[in-house]
Amino acid sequence: MKNYFRSQVVAGIADPGNRHHRCRLQLLAAALALLPLVASAKLNVVATLPDFGALAREIGGDKINLVVLAKPTEDPHFVDARPSFVVSLRNADVLIDGGAELELGWLPPLLQNARNPKIEIGKPGRAQASQGIRLMNVPTNVTRAAGDVHALGNPHFTVDPIIAKAIAQHIAQSFSALDPANAAFYDANYKKFEAAINAKLQEWGATMLPVKGQHVVAYHDSWPYFAHRFGLNIDIFLEPKPGIPPSPSHLTEVIAQMRAQHIKAIIVEPFHDRRIAEKVASATGAKVVEFSQFPGGLPGTDSYVKLIDALVSRLAAALK
């Protein structure tokens, strides 16, 4: 459809003197006015979260129109809907979401209102990042008595660079299937991204080597994949249970554990209450390290590689 319209446009413009063509051009203009989406040469891509957005940008470059719904400094569990979200979803050719219930609180009503059959689950226009990824910490029973647990497993997986490669490949395949004309471009971009990550993995590994095996405290359980990749233990949390605000007795316990294990760092994200982390840090002598799951959540991290660069160097410096 897309290519058909484009070839018509080219034919019409190439021979403007021809009356038949001019007439056809007018018809075409009317068709274009009615079908702006079909006529646009670029894929309309919507990413729910900034990490998927950053990967989509690596793959799609200037061949896609990209809209990212959540801001990098926003809590991915709670995102405020705006009218443009519905419009973007309605016009989307591709929707990239996590597929692991992280956006459960806000994406379903938006999709219900957008009513776009192209991006329904199972359609080629829906790329679910978690597909083909083995999620960590899948709860054995789903009573949800253990807090705001995601039934499918921990959904904060993009911070593992090897998983990010898999997601990027998945995105490249989706784009190629929907826009075969640019398949080679998407594939080349994926190869470029893969090579960049492979080169960086050694560098990151070397930076983290001296601090390997150390324990780190986090506000929320967003970092099992990062910890797994770089050989850290991020298994003590300021929240007593996911989504539940810290209570005094729990914080006392955390402080005792931190003293016993000589833990040197607490990682917090922009949308967490930094004062709680600082209170615990001042009681234990640990450092508060600002972290983000999302490119753009820390200054100077507009790409995925820059984000992991920042996370690795910040944490290594704090743990030294």
């Binding site: 709670f78 705006r82 009218p83 309605r90 609180g105 219900q112 209102n113 807090g147 705001d148 989504g243």
Partner: protein
């Protein structure tokens, strides 16, 4: 734009009339924050349902939430004595904070994140579904008929309490009836449109009406105009500038109220200078 904004606009046309009318009562009684206290009572009921692992969309949860608003209504009708040292607004404020704090305590034990509860309680006018709009509209029509058929007593109790007592009305009983129905209306509208909007729709049009007119029917008409204008203009602004819709409507109401206050001041001044108000 219509595809996205159609149902929000329908909601803003079909639903606020009842809130404006109830708002006149609420402002007259001087119990401005009752809606927020009532909504908080309902959410406390829902937290209890979470604790018992009930289906949040089911009838049991709804009944518990309604039960809690009835308890709220009972408290407010008992404390609203004819001559009390303690203003009603103090009781309302206390009910609000205690209900909010109790919800925090329950949730920390229920150990279920508050995503679902927030979803359940606080709607977003942008994302209303046709089904929600019609269900709410049907409820509002029923409540409207109920209020209309008993309007003499309801109006007497709100606007002329001394008169109501003199006539021998059972004022507390009428208060309770008012609060119970009010709680039902507020809770169902909050689920569609959120707390900010419910408050704005109750209070701002009523205050505008009081500013510009003295008769209840005139105040009601002015309030309806303001509610429609503010709601629809707010939705348009929210679309054009891509702002969160509920907050855009509330700020539009704020701007309208400022304009109307200036207009009322100017009218008052003019009346003074011609000498109308002196000859009253």
């Amino acid at each position: 734009m219509w595809e996205v904004m159609f149902w929000p606009i329908v909601a803003c046309v079909l639903l606020p009339w009842l809130l404006v009318y109830l708002g006149l009562h609420v402002v007259q009684r001087g119990i401005i924050f009752i809606d927020i206290a009532m909504a908080q009572m309902a959410s406390l009921g829902i937290c209890l349902a979470v604790l018992f692992h009930l289906d949040l969309q089911g009838w049991a949860t709804f009944s518990i939430a309604l039960g809690f608003t009835l308890i709220g209504g009972a408290i407010f009708s008992v404390t609203g004595k004819r001559s009390s040292q303690i203003p009603q607004e103090a009781v309302i404020g206390i009910s609000y904070v205690v209900a909010a704090a109790a919800a925090v305590l329950l949730l920390s034990r229920a150990a279920e994140g508050d995503e679902e509860i927030k979803n359940m309680l606080v709607g977003n006018i942008l994302l209303v579904t046709p089904h929600e709009v019609w269900k709410c509209f049907a409820l509002f029509v029923a409540v409207g008929v109920f209020h209309f058929s008993l309007r003499r007593n309801f109006l007497l109790v709100s606007f002329d309490r001394d008169g109501a007592y003199q006539k021998g009305l059972r004022v507390r009983w009428w208060d309770f009836l008012f609060y119970a129905v009010f709680g039902l209306v507020v809770t169902s509208f909050v689920r569609i449109a959120g707390v900010l909007l419910v408050f704005s729709y109750l209070i701002v049009p009523a205050v505008c009406g009081i500013n510009l007119a003295t008769r209840i029917s005139h105040r009601l008409l002015i309030g309806w105009m303001i509610a429609w204008l503010g709601g629809i203009a707010g939705l348009f602004l929210s679309f054009w500038w891509d702002l969160p819709s509920g907050a855009a409507i509330v700020c539009t109401f704020g701007a309208l109220l400022i304009l109307i206050s200036f207009f009322a001041l100017w009218q008052h001044r003019r009346a003074h200078s011609i000498g109308i108000s002196d000859s009253r």
